[in-house]
Point group: C3
Chain length 368, copies 3
C-alpha cells in the first residue's frame, strides 16, 4: 500500500501556490474567551499570597487567602491602575501596595485607609475562578456562561495511580493556532529525526464534529534504534525488523480550545496521554503560555519509571525546544510577510484551521 497521504475527496484538493484566500487571517483570530483557561500552576500561588498573570492582554491577580478558595481580580487598582498582585492579602481581601486600597472577593472596594467608609469608590472586575488537577483556571468571557461551560472532566491521567504525570510549559512567541497545527500534523515528525530516529507516520483518518477535529496515525520505524526517552513513553522497544510496526495508534484531537494526544494499542489503556492548552498572553495574541500535562503509564516493574524520569524529561524538553523554535520562525515569517501565506495540502490541517477560525473570535482586540 502506498504510504503517501491522499486527500480524502476531490473537494479537498488544495489550490497550490495560491495561498489562502480567506477573508480572515487565522493568526488574527482571537481565542474565544467563553471557555476556561488555565493561567497559573497551583504550586505558583502560596497560601496568603497573590500573583499576577495574564490572559490575552488582560492582567489578572490571583489571590489565595489562607482560608478559602482562590479568587481572580483584574490586576489593576481602581485608583491608579497599578497591579494588585504587588499588594498584600488580608483575610478575604487584597490591599493595593501603593495607597492601601483594599478589594474583597467580589471585587468591591472595601477600604481606603484615608477615606470615610461612606465614600468608597467602585471596585475592580472579577473573573470566575476554579482550581483542578494542579492548575488554576479562569473564565475570561461572559461570567453568566461560566456555570454552563464545563471544565474538562480530567486532564490527562492526573490522579490515576497507574500513571505518572509531568507538568510542563513555557511562553512561546507565536499565535496559539501554530501550536495546534504543529502537534496535529505528525508529518513534522521529520523535524525530530535527531531525537527520535527515522519514523514514517501513516495517516489513518480524521474525524470532524462540532468543536472537534481528530487525526489518527500509526508509525513505522524506517531506520535507526528507538531512543530510551521514547521507549519510556511508548512502553516498550520496537525495532524496524519487528512485526509490531503500526500496531500503536496515535490520536491527536483539538477539542476547542484544548488539545490531546494519546497513544494506545487496541482497546488497552493508553501508554501515553497528553493534555495541553496554549493561553494567549498579549492583547494581539501573538504569544502564548503553554500548559501541558503528560501522563505516562507505569511499567509492570515498580520504580523503573521513577529511575528513568530524568531521561524522559530531557527527551521531551528537546522535542519541545525544536517545536518552539519552528513555530516562532513561522510567527516571524507572518510578521515579515504581513499575513498568513500558508499553502496547506494536508486535509486534516485544513479542517483544524477551519475549526480554529469558527470557534475563535474575529473582532479586533479591545486594546489592540
Amino acid at each position: 500500500m502506498d504510504q503517501t497521504v491522499q486527500t480524502d475527496t476531490p473537494d479537498d484538493t488544495p489550490s497550490f501556490g495560491a495561498g489562502h484566500t480567506n477573508s480572515t487571517d487565522l493568526r488574527r483570530i482571537r481565542s474565544n474567551p467563553d471557555f476556561w483557561y488555565p493561567v497559573a500552576w497551583s504550586k505558583e500561588l502560596k497560601a496568603g499570597k497573590t500573583i499576577g498573570t495574564r490572559y490575552a492582554g488582560t492582567p489578572i491577580a490571583l489571590v489565595r487567602p489562607t482560608e478559602g478558595t482562590v479568587f481572580a481580580l483584574e490586576d489593576r487598582c481602581a485608583h491608579r491602575q497599578v497591579p494588585l498582585s504587588k499588594g498584600k492579602v488580608c483575610g478575604q481581601s487584597v490591599q493595593c501596595c501603593y495607597h492601601g486600597w483594599a478589594y474583597g472577593r467580589s471585587g468591591r472596594c472595601i477600604d481606603v485607609p484615608y477615606l470615610g467608609k461612606g465614600k468608597l469608590p467602585n471596585g475592580v472586575r472579577t473573573f470566575p475562578c476554579r482550581e483542578q488537577d494542579g492548575l488554576i483556571f479562569i473564565f475570561p468571557g461572559d461570567p453568566d456562561k461560566a456555570d454552563t461551560v464545563p471544565l474538562p472532566p480530567r486532564l490527562a491521567r492526573v490522579g490515576d495511580p497507574a500513571y505518572k504525570t509531568r507538568f510542563f510549559g513555557q511562553e512561546v512567541k507565536c499565535h496559539y493556532s501554530f501550536m495546534h497545527e504543529n502537534l496535529m500534523d505528525m508529518n513534522h515528525q521529520f523535524m525530530h529525526m535527531k531525537q527520535m530516529g527515522q519514523m514514517r507516520p501513516r495517516f489513518l483518518g480524521q474525524k470532524r464534529e462540532p468543536g472537534l477535529v481528530e487525526a489518527q496515525y500509526s508509525f513505522a520505524r524506517t531506520s535507526g534504534k528507538q531512543p530510551l526517552g521514547e521507549a519510556l513513553i511508548f512502553g516498550e522497544r520496537r525495532d524496524s525488523s519487528e512485526k509490531f510496526q503500526h500496531r500503536d495508534v496515535m490520536t491527536i484531537r483539538t477539542e476547542y480550545p484544548y488539545q490531546t494526544l494519546r497513544i494506545q494499542t487496541g482497546d488497552e489503556d493508553p501508554v501515553m496521554d497528553l493534555w495541553i492548552v496554549y493561553v494567549p498572553q498579549d492583547a494581539e495574541e501573538l504569544t502564548n503560555r503553554t500548559f501541558g500535562l503528560l501522563s505516562v503509564k507505569r511499567p509492570k516493574v515498580p520504580g523503573v519509571l521513577e529511575l528513568a524520569w530524568p531521561f524522559l524529561v530531557a527527551f521531551t524538553e528537546r522535542i519541545f525546544a525544536e517545536d518552539r523554535e519552528i513555530v516562532e520562525l513561522e510567527q516571524n515569517a507572518w510578521r515579515e510577510l504581513g499575513g498568513d501565506h500558508n499553502v496547506e495540502v494536508f486535509p486534516v490541517i485544513n479542517a483544524l484551521r477551519a475549526l480554529l477560525a469558527e470557534c475563535g473570535v474575529s473582532e479586533p482586540a479591545v486594546n489592540a
Copy 2:
C-alpha cells in the same frame, strides 16, 4: 478626632469609578519650556570638555571652556547632525568630531577647515545656560524670557553649614506628573512600610496659589520602631508611646515645575529640606531624569551625621527604588490602557493635577 481625610467641601466630591473626563490626558501634557531646567550635575562636566544631555527630546551639548562659563548648544552639527558633544573644545568654541566644523558660544559656525571663511554656513541653536548649587540649568523655551524668569533662589540648603546635602537622581521611565503625585500624596507612605514601619499620615490642609499647590501632614507611628535612616533625617527617635506624635509637620509643595518637601517643628529650621525636579528626556516626555537635593540638619554632636551618612544614603535609595518601581508600573498601565484611567479621591492631588495641566503645554511635541 477621625484621622481619615475628608474632602474639604461638597464640591470636591469625586465621581467614583468614572475616571477623569477631562478632554486632555495629564500624561500627554508637555512640560512648559519657559522655565529653567537642570540638565546635568556640575561635576559631570570637566573644564575643557563637552557632554551631551537632553530636554524633552532635544539633544543639548554643554560646553565648559577652560576659561569662562558653561554654554549650551543644540547637540547636532549643522552639517550632518552628529552630536557636537562628541567633539573637541578649543578656546571658546567646540569643533565637530566628524569634519571639524567649529561653533562659538553664540552658536555661529566660525570655521570649516576646508572652506573659505567668506562661505561659512549658518550655525546651531543655543540655550541660555546658568550654573548654581552644583547644577547646570538651561532655559529651553523663548530665550527672551530667560532673564525675567528667575532661577530658584536656593536649592534645599546647599551651602548652609548647618546642613549636609545629598545630591541624587536617576532616569525614571514615566511622565513627570507621576513623580509629583507620588511625592505629594503621603498616603503612599503605606508602600514604604517595610522601610519606615507603620506610620499613619494625618492630612492637615492644602494651599492653592497661582503656580503652586501645597499639602501639609503630620504623622503618628502606629506600630514598630523608627528605623535608623529615618531617625537621622527626622533628627531624633520617637516611639509610638511618645506624646510627641504629630508634633512635626511635613510640607510638600509643587511650585511649578519644581517640588519641595520640608519637615519642621513649629518655627524651628527644618530638620529636612528636599528640592527636586523631574526633567523630561524624550520627545513624548514619558521618561524623566530626576535631580534631587536632600539637605539634612546637622545634629548638635559634630561628626555624627558624617558617620551615619552611608545609612542615610542606603535608606533613601531603598525608598527611591520603591517609588521608581511604582511610578513605572503606573506608566505601563497608562500605555496598556491607552490613556489615564486614574480615579483620584484625594482633593490635594486633584488640585495638583489641575496645576500641572494649567502650567504645562498641551500641544503635541515637535518630533512626536
Copy 3:
C-alpha cells in the same frame, strides 16, 4: 596656494542653513536590485550545507551541494514559510526541516514526503548566483538582466601575488548612502586624528560620469608621526619635514553600487587598493552589511607584510570602528528629526548624493 577647497563654480554655491529641499529624502532611496550584490563570504558556506542571508528584507537561502555550484532560493518554504536554510542539503536539492518538502536548484518543489508525486505544490523563487574572489553574489532584481549586468571584473587585487588582501566587514546600522559619503569625503580624516595623526587633505578634483563619481586627494602631514599601521598601507614612512608631501594621490570612486579607494604615486601600481560594498539588510534599508577587500602591496623585503599584518588589522579595525560609530549617529539623528537635514557644502559629496539618488529606486519597499 590656499589649501581650502573652493566650490568649483558659482553654480555649486550651497544654500546654507536651508537643508536639502529635494522632494526625495536620500535615506529613503532603495538600492537598485538590478546589480550583483555579495550576500556572504565563500568560507561561510561549507560543502553540503545551506546558510541564511538577506538582501533588503528578502531572506535568501544559499545552498552549496557537495557537487556543483552554489545556488540561491528565497529562504521561505512554500508550505509554512519557515527558513529553508534550517533544512538539509540532499544532492542538488534542499529539504525543509519542518515537514520535509524538498526544492531543487530551479526552486521547483520536487518532493513532499507524504503526498503523491502528481500533486506537488509550486516551489519558491530563485536568484541568479555567482561566486568570485571569495564572495557569493546574487542578483536580486529582474533575472533576465543578470546576464547582461557584469560582475566587477576584479575585486581589489585578490589573486595578485604582489598584494596581500584583507577580507573584512560587519553589519552597520545605517542606510548605505551614509557609508558612501563617509568614505568619499576625506575631510572626515579629522575624525581619525588619534589613529593617523594630523593629516591635511587637499582636494585635487572630481570626475562625474554616468553611474560614477570620483574624487582625488593628496595629503600633507601637519604634525605628529606616521603610525605603523598607516605606514604599512602607504608603503613607506613620511614625516612632515619631508618634501614628498602630496606625492601620493588617493582616488575614491563610487561606481554604483560599489566603492573603491586607491592610493598611488604617479603611474606606479597602487600601494593600496580597496573594494567595498554596503548591502542593505532590512526592508527599509536602514542597516547594511559591509563587505570589504583591502589589498596592500607587498614591500620588497619578503615576509615583512605577514609579520606586520596583525598591526594592520588592528589599525583598520580602529578606523572602521570610528566610522561605524559616526554613521550610526547620523542615522539616529535622521530618525529623531524624521528626515535628512544635511547641509552639504562639499561639491563632490553633492555629486555623490545626486548619483545615489539617480541610480537607486525611489518607490517604497514591498514590505515597508
